[in-house]
Symmetry: C3
Subunit: 460 residues, 3 copies
């Protein structure tokens, strides 16, 4: 196929159109919430709050910055492992996330921070926007190297919208707890992305030769992403939890789960290689599965040993997935999952949803205390109407809703992205920065087949 | 020219002299402020402060660490894009910043934290010292690859001094607001650096061949710098704002401006390339212009849409600058701006100063509340004597003072640096680590012309 | 020697055994402390605490995340300077730290957080576990490239145990102050590691040819490690200090010491090279010595100029160590110290212990205030029983205990690691990722001698 990958007008037009629309919508709808408005000082005095520190900002800001790093450096660099796709991995992730957070502020704002006239923004909105974009970064991992930036912006537009609807159903209608987003972020993001890449199946992808693999230094760049994700995951899972013990507990649980996960991922990586050698792909990805799987339950009374067990299991399952399941998905189900997000976000996300449901169902006043239980599950003084088993069932329902939204949404978006005029590359030119980037001299010499008369190899 | 680039005595002597002087001056002048002194506990008890958290440390420390990362990793790695100047980019930035923060603690301390006998240090001084050095890092971007570390230390010595004087004029005499430093840091730093590089004009710089360009992995290293600058910029613009809503608001505004900036920078980068390809230089730099331009007004009631508009405009202007203005400045005005700081810090800094003036001039009690307005612009109970339009005029005056200081100071410092004995390299050996660094074997084979009889190519 | 480096069963078995043991021990012993337990809200109400912010979490969490980055990115990337050992540097550091923090939570928990039935975990435990692992990362630097991951896990198991015993003796029995761990972390870690590498002496290490040196980009990766260590060191030294002024002061002192250290390290690096060129090894390491040496005294009234003096001296001593002492240790004492930890952690750690003893011995009520002195040295109301000179003597005793523990422990562990069945490589295959890692194509072509019939060069 001779697709036209010249984005000279398509990319600028969509960027500018989207950004102009965002400016207008922000102008109409977005203002500061009380804690970020200059009237706060009057409010503070009238409510007799003794310290400036009781501004929500001081509870959330350090976690926000950590989450921010995870989205932009964590996901961005994790995907630089491909030898000739580092610019695109970091650059397109940057682009889609910068657009996505703005659109998420609006979508999530209408659902959760709308006072009837304005969306009121505070630091928690910024965190939630980053979370929402996190699910897009996950889906990006499945289609990495095979889509144009125009397709990515379109995917982001739809996925953020669907994410917000799904999140509203879970958090507001089903009253599900999902602080670390095992369901809303990881399960939804992964199965959405897998469905999209299934629709966009490329039968001749093998023609792109060595490019889907790594080189020595690209693997080290990817480790920067891995480590920042791993280190800051405790902030991710605790960032929007209740003040005090819930944030504190979510950090401890995530820390424990991630640590256990590293050991079992290393163990499986070695045992599954015929010479016992470690594979960077597993170290870069499976070591993170424990953070995904503890997302929903991290703020609950999961106990440190419970977290270790989850990390233990997910390190094993995730590594097994990379070795056996990813090749199977590609060859039998025609699901080409570039980064193996099914192993890092898909299965661990589902496990996380289940663990959350079980942990919620076993909550009781002995474990949480009377007040603690009410505070943790947010049911105020109407204690009698709430019971743990119902919460557990709603948690499970939330998992199924997320999966259903991901599959249906993924099909629709996949079909839209399959249209031939979004600037996507031919199968033999995938995983190649030179299609969309002006390259430095050292990389220009590599020959690849022209896919379009406007692209002359000699000029690349 | 056959300049001697052997720094064996010059660099050690200046480093040791400066450091000894700093030790002596710190011994005579510097002590801890009340919040960092062991007497604080008595003070706290006598003032009946209920919580240790009311120590200034807890308001500022997370922001401080983010700013610290911007100065050392952000600026340091942003400048590693050159293929053979990575050691110098990171290493010299490290050196000049480590010296500069100490000298800034003294200079800013005398102006702002002097109790008549001692400069009293607290966490806010550390942030301000990092800010001051930030303006030196900006200027370093203009002369990158063309100056010796000795020249950089001399430039830092003078620039920190001038910065502190300028900052004192703006903040204390004109009572200008400039929390994120659009004027004091970016405008001053950029035009100072541009003036210095204009004085240091090198007519035969083209002889350094390919070295001023990037290679594939050097661009990825630079993206580490870009992303840490981008992610932590909300901390930069809010770090020294008033407690509470002002810090909170500055974060939201900066987040919004930066996000918008990415989309327009990408749009322009693509549309200005004849095949629609993206240029890493624009992605690395122009995406940050929104953070610069929102510096002064970020803590004001700029509104989220106002921030988006600023980011929108600056992404465009900055990218246009890289494509059209930088070559023009070099060929016509003989201003060789290695990193294009005019596009990232110069023009956006001026825009930021103007936006700040306009935003201040339109402040009113409806928008801020009576108390909020007094708190935001720091005029205590003497409400009547203050009006927004005067504040706006003083803001504008501050911008002009910064420009004037930068130009005059830059000329003086440029002339000093032009003296031939600071160890600078010849035109054909610019952008080359091997001049000042012991190189690993893989880089030694590259041949370059000897500029000095003490440098034999075979030994490099 | 033909050692078998195939880890297919040894590494997985030890990983899984250790992790299963940890799960069981956590199940039996570990629960949340009061600030992380759901009962906290009841406790808060009963104790009439007005704000959620008085949860310990908010005092410690930002520092915790910074320390976490130092352990995983800081130490991990600092050791990527070797041209063919980047995977192992980052990957093995990740593995040993993930195991070590779990084991440290138990060991330190039994000594310091045991309520008779359970170890109660909070954020401070997480920081202390990271600290403990920091000492293992230090020791890893001495044996880098010469040991298998199995050996590293065994070393971690023992070193964490010994660290905890030593820490208990110092902090609980001798009542020594050592917030930044000059003695417990750096001195202990360095001399433990040096003793181990002395026992593991490899006479034919020269056969591994160029591999112990760096290439251009590996040095830039290492600078990522250096800078994150340098930038976050103020958090390291203040993370477990008393609330309020002590944390605040520790940050200021560390910031000052590190800044001074950079200038003297650069000065010495240049003056010790015959052409005055800088050496990346010094910039990567000696610039950090000031942080080590100020560890014990950072929270005391050391004064900013005192910190500068310490940084000044340590930058010089550390660089001199790299140039003169490391070669001497290797050739004369048969101590092969891959990363030069003796220069970065050994000597500066001892200096730090001495400075701490002197600073403590000169504490008085004039400097600290009556209450401040009691609070800083933790002796409650029984003021009369405490005197500064005794504290100073106990500090000095702590330093000797740490050295003794390191030497004795290092000999025992070294002898265990010398057993021939841990999968270690032959002398000529040290510093080589391909022994333990599946390599990407670009690195497979490099030939090295087979050490084991199961390793055929053609298949590497």
């Amino acid at each position: 196929m001779a697709w036209n990958t010249n984005l000279r007008w398509r990319l600028p037009v969509i960027c500018l159109l989207l950004q102009v629309a965002l400016v207008v919508l922000f102008g109409v709808f977005v203002r500061y919430d009380l804690d970020a408005d200059a009237h706060w000082i009057e409010e503070r005095m009238s409510r007799n709050i003794s310290s400036d520190l009781d501004n929500e900002f001081y509870y959330r800001y350090p976690s926000f910055q950590d989450v921010h790093v995870m989205i932009f450096v964590g996901f961005g660099f994790l995907m630089t492992f491909l030898q000739r796709y580092g610019y695109s991995a970091v650059g397109f992730n940057f682009l889609l996330a910068a657009f996505g957070i703005q659109w998420a502020l609006l979508m999530q704002g209408w659902f959760h921070s709308f006072d009837g006239r304005y969306i009121l923004l505070g630091v928690e909105n910024l965190i939630n926007a980053d979370f929402c974009v996190g699910s897009v970064c996950v889906a990006f991992g499945a289609v990495l190297g095979k889509v144009s930036p125009v397709q990515l912006l379109i995917m982001t537009l739809f996925q953020v919208t669907l994410f917000s609807v799904n999140e509203f159903i879970l958090l507001s209608l089903l009253e599900v707890k999902d602080a670390g987003g095992s369901m809303t972020i990881h399960t939804f993001g992964a199965y959405f992305g897998l469905t999209v890449t299934w629709i966009l199946y490329r039968p001749n992808l093998y023609q792109s030769k060595d490019r889907p693999s790594s080189v020595y230094h690209s693997d080290l760049f990817a480790m920067i992403g891995t480590l920042f994700l791993w280190m800051y995951w405790p902030s991710f899972n605790s960032a929007v939890s209740n003040h005090g013990d819930a944030q504190h507990r979510a950090v401890i649980n995530t820390y424990c789960s991630l640590a256990a996960c590293v050991l079992t991922a290393v163990a499986l990586s070695s045992v599954l290689h015929k010479k016992g050698k470690l594979d960077m792909v597993h170290i870069q990805n499976a070591t993170l599965a424990g953070g995904v799987a503890v997302g929903t339950a991290a703020e609950m009374m999961l106990m440190p040993y419970g977290s270790l067990v989850i990390g233990f299991i997910c390190g094993i399952i995730s590594t097994l997935g990379f070795v056996y399941l990813t090749p199977f998905l590609e060859s039998r189900l025609r699901i080409q999952d570039t980064c193996g997000i099914h192993n890092l976000h898909g299965m661990p996300g589902i496990i996380g949803g289940i663990v959350g449901a079980v942990t919620a169902a076993s909550a009781n006043t002995e474990l949480y205390g009377q007040e603690g239980l009410a505070f943790a599950f947010g049911f105020g003084s109407s204690t009698l109407s709430w019971n743990a088993s119902t919460q557990g069932k709603f948690q499970a329902a939330g998992l199924f809703v997320s999966l259903a939204m991901a599959l249906v949404g993924g099909i629709i978006v996949g079909v839209i992205l399959k249209l031939p005029f979004w600037g996507q590359a031919a199968d033999e030119n995938c995983f190649e920065d030179a299609i969309y980037w002006e390259m430095p001299k050292d990389q220009k010499s590599i020959v690849f087949r022209s896919e379009d008369p406007t692209l002359k190899p000699s000029e690349l």
